[in-house]
C-alpha cells in the first residue's frame, strides 16, 4: 500500500510535535508574548535543517524512492498570504494550535480540541465558498 509510508511519517511527526511541546497552548502564548526562546529555538533549528536538506537534494541530484526527480513547487504571491495570514495568526493564538498540533492534541486525548478541528473544517469550507469574492 503506497500511502502507508505517509501514515508512518505522520505518526513520527505527531510524536515529535508532542515531544518538543509544539502542541502546547502555553508555549504559543509564551512565543507570541516574547517571554521565552523555546519556540524560536525550534524554528531556528528546523528551518536551516530544511534548507540544508533541500540544498543537498539538489546538489547530489537525489531522487525519490521510486526514482523520480524531486520537484519543488513554487509559491506565487497573492494578497491572501497577508490577509489570510493575519486571520490565521489571530486564531492560532486563541486556540494555541495550527493544523498539525490540532490533530496531535486530539490523539493525545484532548477531546475538546475536536471542536476546534471541526470549526477549522468549517472555516475552510466558508473560505472555499467565499473565495471568488475575496481579494487575492
Amino acid at each position: 500500500m503506497k500511502n502507508l509510508k505517509y501514515l508512518l511519517l505522520g505518526t513520527l511527526f505527531g510524536i515529535i510535535l508532542c515531544k518538543v511541546q509544539a502542541v502546547s497552548w502555553w508555549r504559543m502564548q509564551e512565543m507570541f508574548r516574547f517571554d521565552g526562546f523555546y519556540m524560536y529555538g525550534l524554528f531556528v533549528t528546523a528551518i536551516p535543517t530544511g534548507i540544508l536538506s533541500v540544498w543537498l537534494i539538489k546538489k547530489f541530484n537525489i531522487k525519490t524512492v521510486s526514482g523520480e526527480p524531486i520537484i519543488i513547487r513554487k509559491k506565487k504571491f497573492n494578497w491572501g498570504y497577508v490577509i489570510g495570514g493575519l486571520l490565521f495568526g489571530i486564531g492560532w493564538a486563541f486556540s494555541g494550535a495550527c493544523p498539525g498540533p490540532l490533530l496531535a492534541l486530539i490523539g493525545a486525548g484532548k477531546f475538546v480540541v475536536i471542536v476546534v478541528f471541526i470549526s477549522a473544517l468549517f472555516g475552510t469550507l466558508v473560505y472555499s465558498w467565499l473565495r471568488p469574492r475575496l481579494p487575492h
Binding site: W25, T49, G50, T64, V82, T124
Partner: protein
C-alpha cells in the same frame, strides 16, 4: 526505560527532526510538507455541493489524509502513552499574566480552565475555541498554507512569499495573544 521515553526533548533536537520532515516527504514521493491542505481534502471529500475550489479529485491527494491520520496516532503515542508528566517549563511572566486573566497553569499542553465542555458554552470559551478554530481553517486556506507549509517547507525552499505569510501569521498572533486574548478572557466578568 519508560521514564526516559516519557521525557520531553530539547528544542535543538526537536527542531532538527521537524526540519527533516521536509526531505523525508520529498524523497518518499515528491510531497510538499504541509498539513492544512488536508482540511481542504476533507471538505472536498465530504461536501457534495458544487464549490469550484472543492471540485477536484481529492483521492489524488489521499497521502495528505494518511499523513494527518498518522499525526493523530503520533499524538496518542507521544502525548498520551508516552506523555511527559512534567509540565512545560513556561516563562513565569507568561504564567503570571495568564493567571491575572483567570487562566491557571497546568501540565498537559492545554489549559483546563479553557478547554473543557462547560467553558465552551460561555462567550469567551466560544470565541477562543470555535471562532479560533474557524480562523485557523479560514486563514490557512486563504494564506495557502500553515506553519508547516509556509513556515517550514516554504522557508526551507527559500520562497519569499512564504516569508511574507509567516510574518503575517506572527503579526496576527502577537496582536491576538497580547491584546485580544486578555480582552476576551475578561468578557462577561
Amino acid at each position: 526505560m519508560i521514564e526516559i521515553l516519557k521525557q520531553s526533548w530539547p528544542w535543538y533536537v526537536g527542531g532538527v527532526l521537524i526540519g527533516l520532515m521536509v526531505p523525508a516527504l520529498l524523497i518518499a514521493g515528491n510531497k510538499s510538507f504541509g498539513v492544512s491542505a488536508s482540511l481542504r481534502d476533507i471538505c472536498a471529500a465530504c461536501i457534495p455541493a458544487k464549490i469550484p475550489f472543492l471540485d477536484y479529485d481529492w483521492r489524488k491527494e489521499a497521502w495528505n489524509l494518511f499523513f494527518s491520520l498518522g499525526i493523530v496516532i503520533g499524538g496518542f503515542i507521544g502525548g498520551y502513552l508516552l506523555g511527559d508528566p512534567q509540565p512545560e517549563k513556561i516563562s513565569s511572566i507568561t504564567i503570571q499574566t495568564l493567571e491575572q486573566n483567570g487562566v491557571h497553569f497546568n501540565a498537559g499542553f492545554v489549559p483546563e480552565d479553557i478547554f473543557n465542555w462547560s467553558y465552551l458554552f460561555t462567550l469567551p470559551g466560544f470565541i477562543i475555541i470555535v471562532v479560533g478554530g474557524f480562523l485557523v481553517g479560514f486563514g490557512t486556506r486563504y494564506a495557502g498554507g500553515c506553519t508547516s507549509g509556509h513556515g517550514i517547507m516554504g522557508l526551507s525552499t527559500l520562497q519569499w512569499p512564504s516569508l511574507i505569510a509567516v510574518g503575517s501569521f506572527f503579526v496576527g498572533g502577537i496582536i491576538s495573544a497580547t491584546w485580544l486574548l486578555p480582552f476576551i478572557l475578561n468578557l462577561g466578568k
